[in-house]
Each structure stands twice: as C-alpha cells, then as structure tokens.
Point group: C2
Chain length 202, copies 2
Amino acid sequence: MSIQIITISRQFGSGGRTIAKKVADELGFNYYDKEIIDHVSVETGFSKEYIEERGEHAPGKTILSYGFEPQGVPGIMNGMSAADYLWSIQRQVILKIAEEDKPCVIVGRCADYILKDFDGVFNVFIHADMDFRKERIVKLYGESEKKPEKRLIEKDKKRKTNYKYYTNQEWGDGANYDLCLDSSFFGVDKCAEIICNLVKNS
Amino acid sequence: MSIQIITISRQFGSGGRTIAKKVADELGFNYYDKEIIDHVSVETGFSKEYIEERGEHAPGKTILSYGFEPQGVPGIMNGMSAADYLWSIQRQVILKIAEEDKPCVIVGRCADYILKDFDGVFNVFIHADMDFRKERIVKLYGESEKKPEKRLIEKDKKRKTNYKYYTNQEWGDGANYDLCLDSSFFGVDKCAEIICNLVKNS
C-alpha cells in the first residue's frame, strides 16, 4: 500500500466527511477533520468556534480582521490579517500531520494543495446533486430560516473562494484531484468502499 | 448491470479514448467515437475531416461559418451557422445511439450533457498531468512545429469553449461527472479496470 495520506475535499452536504471517517476506520488510518481545529487553537490561541467558522471560508478583508479578533497574541501576526495568520498556522499543522501522523485521512482545508509535493498522497473530491444534499443537510443539521438550497450555495461559495484565494486553483475542478466521486450516484457507503479498494491495491 | 451507457470525456493526451475502447471491449459494449462522425457525415453531407475538426471545437462565428462551408445542402440549415447545424445533427445522432445501440460507450461530443435525462448513464471524465500528456501525444501523434504543451492547451481550450457554448457548464468541473480519474496517477489500464468494475457491480 503506497498511499499513505488521503485528502478528502467535499461539497457541503455530499457526505464527504462521513465517507472520510468510514475510510479511516476501515483502513486503520488516523483521521483529521475537527482534530485540526484543536491543534490550530493551541498554536494560535483562537477559539475553536472562530477557527471552524473561518478555517475553510474566504478571508474577510474588513478592518476587524486585521489583528483585532484573536485574544492574547499581541504582535504575533506581523501585519497579517487574522485569516491569513490562521491559514499559515493551519498549513503548518497539516504539514506536521503529514510528516508525523501518517497513514492518515485529512478532510478539507486545502490539504490537497498544501501536500502537493508529498509522495503517497491521494486526493479525492466528493460531490452530489442538489436534491441529495438538501435532504442530507436538513436530516443532519435540521431546518433553519434559510432554505436548504441557499445554505448549500452559500457554504460552497465560501469554500470555493477560500480555496481560490489560497491556492489559485478552482475548487472542484476535476483536474485537481486523483479521484472525484458523485455520492448521489454511488451512495455514501459505496464511495467509501471504492476509495478503500483503490488504496488497498495501491 | 444497470449502467447501459458510459460517456467518456477526456483531456487531450490523457488516454481517455484508449480507456474508452478498453472498457467497451471488456464489457462487450458498442463503441462510438469516430463512428459518430460517419453517421453525421451521412446526415449532413459534411466531410469527415470537417466534422472531426469542428465537432468538438468552439463554433467559429465568422461569416464563412454561415452556410458557405458545407457543399450540397442548400437551404437546409435555416439560418443556423454550420457549427450550430453540425451540433444539432451530432446531438440527434447521439440520442439515436442512446435509444437504439445500447449498451454503449460514447467518447466526447458533450454526450454527458445531451443524455442527462436518460436513465442508466454513467459519466466519466479522464484527465492527467501535463508531463504524462506531453509524452503521450508525442508518442502517438509525433512531433509538430508547435510545442506539445501549446498543442495540449489549445486543444483543451477548444473543447472547453465548445462545451461551455453548447451546455452552459464548465468542461472538466468534477460536479458534472459521476467519476473523474487521473490517468497519470492510476495508469491507463487501471482506469479501464476501475470503470469496468464499477459498471459490472452497478
């Protein structure tokens, strides 16, 4: 098995996170999703809520994002916006995981781009049609004031903008990934099975 | 086996056509690539060379493309450009193949979009990194005055523009396909094997 690191990027509501967890469990790989937030929180002093909200979203270039938001890290950001500082620490955490904690599965956070020069990395993108995703987010996260379709479009737009800003690549462009799967076509369990089989035979 | 039609879109030089042929042979499916050109040539009176050059390329909106190029079809185009007329006939041919000649594999020509309302269609996109594709086109088609990278970029750009013009979708966007594979990551034979296994188990 030559694949040691699997990165899984995903449309909101596609089941990408569930697939990633199943793959990690089946292969016995370490799993990094919200775990990355814990590391970044320790490194930066930013709250977990702030990191979760901003870690995959477009940097907000308001005056408030220049050094005012985080607590207890005076002078540490060297003029970077809080979003850029968060990105740089998150990047270091992902590089450290790739060096020290493989085999592993890493969800989102531009890990495919950050690890592009590493050997043994397998980059996967999971997407699904709108009906599948609408049903899934309402089931998982409940109803909200916003219609499910609007929530999906907004969340994907934020991820797309963030990815473009930090990688200069198009999020979801097939050419960026070794494998793209439509989870509404295959189903969540089958996607996990396809990935596991490909990794086992690598 | 519920999948009856496989469409394979591909970056130039990725080996997508070879993969498509292997899949058709292995599964015993009918294979449509240049065969579509023969049908379109019979229907339109356009030469095979003209159809091959224009069938997947952006419509050229020059005055010459309005009714002057094809021979022997006076009045038939009803004011459509030759490119739009070619598209409409090619679309009809693909729809007829899907109705009458399945199970089948269809290469390129926006078949994924044209057949989007059909059941049992499996849409695949094959891509590869630049080095893999450069080496492949020089091996298959020989050297030319243009550098391989320039040939690849130009050809993909034409396919992308053509696809966008007729489908209003982004060519190569992972979300348009059920499966995207990097043939430089897996290898051509393995890509064919992956597709065959998924179709056999569908």
